[in-house]
Symmetry: C2
């Protein structure tokens, strides 16, 4: 009798492995090159290989697990990997502290010189007269009058007022600090009362479907004081947006659950950065979070049902100001979260932020700018007009739906060079290969094309010692079992090639349709801007080779990193940047691809690897 | 051996009774004329005589109490009065449902014709195009554009935006109502999304130290749809402001506790009125609450420590807008609470509201206006100037610190006529007398003066069948034991007279000092306005006789009822009224009595009953 084999999905690293029934879970991870911490070497003594069983069946909880974990933890599916055997298909979540090799997160955007004219939140120091029988003005009145006294007489001011939570801080702050305080003012609103000389900070964050980046910013200088990233904790509820919306539709508290997960995740990061910078969270008085429309809606607790069904509608377009306390974000009690505007259900605030981060709005140049992900948003600027669209490029560029695919984590093949019989690889972290990530598969296909081992339609051809099988079963071995950390071959399969064809065709089709709408050809381009994590690491030549990008001059291509994060930081400190965001959504023309004449023809042509 | 006697304070009716140890609590209440419901006649079978032991010792809980009350109730001190014997001094709270005779609450103000120009919250109906691939504008965008399309082109509009909670209601509302909705708009902010044709309402409330009045208002017509009142549930934590501030200073969660009590009390009244008017609480989109500075601060959760110590400072002067959800007030999720401005620690938003309710701001006439309570706030208008002050008049006018005193509840003597040997009484509810309330004691003293039985210094003199004792022990029997419901004499004692002298002297001194500051005499007065519950029921001639009010022409006196409630209703519906409130606090001159030249002399003179 053969042992049945089960599939184990490992989150958040996005690896799927197959293991015979009864395999120990820690062994399974280690055999697959997933570096779980296991300080005691699997003896069950420590709890460092802690994982969470999200679905499926493992062997029963052992005594040393009941000793180390609380009932709540056990009820939540927390297990020691070393104590559990695989008894079905599984979904396993690895908490960050159990992973010995950190994920690679793209949090660096291009840092350009950027000067803001009108800040969003400013610090104002005031000293007021003490309360006495001769001066019975309420605390707020004396403070407001002191602010007015130092205001620029040439600038128009509205009525100054206190946020109701900030007002609570005033009486003790005045009396404990010799009647001198520092106020954080958001326009005419006092949002925090702090001791004199205390610096004020803000949070800018890019919440992606997969990853979350957070920056702690000095609001008076605009400098990044600390930054950090983590996986989006919602990932356990679905890898992509559609799966998460389905989860929400199917569970009464689904929206609340996913909202809580991301808020908790952000709070953890904010706490971490505050500790690193040695500041109190009450000093953080403003936040900006950018994300795609679905991430935006879930974060704000807005309904997403209509986002999951055609015509995939955003319910909120305009920017939102939400008191952080309404969401449970742990900043100053009076702090505000600014959520920039969304264009449509598929072009969200993250794309708006990307355009601002790349300094594109208002350009007179002819520019294509795109942010490649599960969904790829594209903008074209020409003659002062701005067109945008979005296309479903799927998760292949993130290593999903690729037979030996994985996310851009240590052990992922990210560069491939095929030179005759020699196959050279570069992996993230320079370790033995475990699998292949998006930029690696792109490189591999470009190299296979160049080596004459692939046809434009996606079929393998020719002869190579690494090429085996035929037709739909053909595959090219990038790393043989002897060199891989998993002890198995890491391959590019015919199916992988087809996945990439579909994905790159979506991107190319969106770009072509927008360029047609704008009436331009690749020769007209001044710039072709590629943003985002995958866009940062991909090889532009490979992307052009396989026909994902149009054949423009190499010098026109610019890879700008996490421009959405840069845009978020600009909107954190600058009113001009926020006005720009409003202007983008007012002026942009959204092009619906399915309604573009010639769409089907363009798509079919774009499937070709050429 | 004589049985010891214990004092029992009965709240919220403000009665103090004395009973021998071991007396049954229901009997004690009934003997004292306090009409506790007791459906089963004290057999212990029903639970209608339910009371709460706030402090002191009663006999042990009986079996039929453990059967009828939950553990939580018992732990909270809930008892059946019929099952409990008095074993110490006690503080007993009677829940409203256990009182057979309702309290008299002053909730009617003078209803004048009042037209507002600019409403605070208005309803806007919009119908928008359905979402389709041809029209992918987000829900908010299509709604905002529809609002702009119907806006008055001659009026300046700001940027229209959604409250983040109101935004959550939009997607389902549009899709469930054929893309037609009714919006509640507060200026440029959409605060609620409702089905077409749904009416919108507001809440105006006057939160006094003792009583709470709530009005449910149709925001489109300004009409009162329902109204109700209750005792301020904070009363169990101290009868007056100073006692409650002490409670807060002495208890870590004291502020939160008292805040929660008043919010719960308001929520209960709001729920009651909503049921009565058959509306959903989501239709209530705006609230205004007025109260003295301490009530204001506790409601908003603002620190009160500095309010309890000289110089008794308000921390917040200016008006506050607070989202009702921040306080836990159960209205529409996007509803706002407007708290009008305070002048000082002793002249709060309730006085501002009273002035607005009496249409006084901006008057060119010479007017004295006052609201008599434990603290009495006084305003003087003359030549367009406005002076205000406050004086500590104590609780005597509310029947406290009076030997046979009680609040204005059924059984309280409220009018007295002494004609030779005949003593005629009128009680609230026309029942046999239990005690004497503020207006009754005022009348009694005025009548005793007129009958030549009192000297201006406050000593009894002369001969009367009802006058007995001498010197400090002298007393005048208003209702002999045979006629009273308690079976004891209801008397006016020498001590009572002294209490009233102190209280009326405070009011008179405040009035005199303000009039001196304004440079006017009683002859200059166009009007003498008396507001508030006690002010409504007192006899003006008696008040003038005993020297509480200056000797102005009788026709100048106006009693206007709960003008603070009227002012709150005006501020609920009118932006002009709110601007007026700001203007009052900007323009008024607060006169500190202790610093007024001649204060001591005026006070000594004002003690005389003349």
């Amino acid at each position: 009798m053969t042992q049945p084999t089960y599939q184990i999905d490992i989150q958040p690293i996005g690896r799927r492995i197959e293991m015979p029934a009864g395999t120990n879970l820690l062994d399974a991870c280690q055999q697959s090159g997933i570096e779980l911490v296991a300080v005691c070497g699997g003896a069950g003594v420590c709890a460092t290989c802690r994982v969470r069983l999200a679905s499926g069946t493992l062997s029963g909880v052992t005594q040393n697990e009941t000793e180390d974990f609380s009932e709540a933890e056990l009820a939540g599916g927390i297990r020691k990997a070393c104590q559990a055997e695989i008894l079905s298909d599984l979904l396993i979540e690895i908490p960050p502290e159990s992973l010995s090799a950190p994920q690679r997160l793209s949090i660096e955007g291009r840092e350009e010189e950027f000067k803001w004219v009108e800040g969003v939140v400013r610090a104002v120091e005031v000293e007021v007269g003490r309360a006495s029988l001769e001066d019975l003005r309420p605390d707020t009145t004396r403070v407001i009058q002191a602010i007015q006294a130092q205001a620029d007489p040439n600038k128009k001011h509205g009525r100054i007022y206190f946020d109701s939570e900030a007002a609570k801080q005033l009486a003790p702050a005045l009396r404990n600090n010799e009647w001198k305080v520092r106020l954080a003012m958001r326009g005419d609103e006092v949002v925090a009362v702090l001791p004199q000389g205390t610096k004020i900070y803000g949070i800018a964050s890019d919440v992606g479907t997969t990853k979350v980046a957070v920056y702690l910013i000095d609001l008076e200088t605009g400098e990044i004081v600390a930054k950090g990233g983590a996986m989006n904790p919602q990932i356990g509820y679905g890898e992509d947006i559609i799966a998460r919306i389905r989860y929400i539709n199917d569970h009464e508290d689904g929206l609340k659950t996913l909202q809580t997960r991301i808020i908790d995740g952000l709070n953890a990061l904010i706490e971490e950065l505050s500790k690193e910078a040695n500041i109190r969270q009450e000093q953080i008085v403003e936040a900006v979070i950018v994300g795609n429309t679905a991430m935006h809606h879930v974060l704000a607790g807005l309904p997403v049902h209509q986002l999951g069904d055609s015509p995939y509608m955003a319910t909120v377009g305009e920017s939102l100001d939400i008191k952080c306390r309404d969401l449970g974000l742990n900043l100053a009690r009076g702090a505000t979260l600014y959520l920039p505007p969304n264009v449509t259900g598929f072009v969200g605030a993250d794309h708006v932020a990307m355009l601002i981060g790349a300094s594109l709005p208002g350009t007179r140049k002819t520019i294509v700018a795109l942010d490649i992900g599960t969904n790829t948003e594209i903008s074209v600027y020409h003659n002062g007009h701005h067109f945008t669209t979005s296309c479903p490029s799927g998760p292949a560029f993130e290593g999903a739906h690729i037979d030996d695919g994985m996310r851009a984590a240590p052990g992922a093949i990210e560069r491939v060079l095929i030179d005759g019989e020699s196959v050279q690889l570069r992996t993230i972290g320079d370790v033995d290969p475990i699998g292949i990530c998006g930029s690696g598969i792109l490189d591999a296909i470009a190299q296979l094309l160049e080596a004459g081992l692939l046809e434009p339609r996606g079929a393998f051809k020719g002869q190579h010692s690494r090429l085996r099988g035929v037709g739909g079963k053909a595959e090219f071995v990038l790393a043989p079992a002897s060199q891989s950390r998993t002890g198995r071959d890491v391959r590019v399969t015919r199916r992988d090639v087809n996945e990439i064809q579909l994905a790159k065709s979506a991107v190319r089709t969106g770009t072509e349709c927008l360029m047609e709408r704008a009436g331009i050809t690749p020769a007209d381009l001044d710039q072709f801007v590629v943003a985002g994590a995958f866009g940062t690491y991909l090889d532009v030549d490979s992307a052009v080779s396989i026909g994902m990008f149009p054949k423009a001059e190499r010098s026109k291509f610019v890879q700008i990193g996490n421009a959405a994060g840069t845009g978020a930081r600009r909107m954190l400190v600058s009113m001009e940047a926020r006005k720009l965001a409003d202007k983008i959504t007012r002026d942009v023309e959204y092009v619906e691809l399915a309604k573009h004449v010639g769409f089907t023809k363009i798509f079919a042509r774009a499937l070709m690897l050429e």
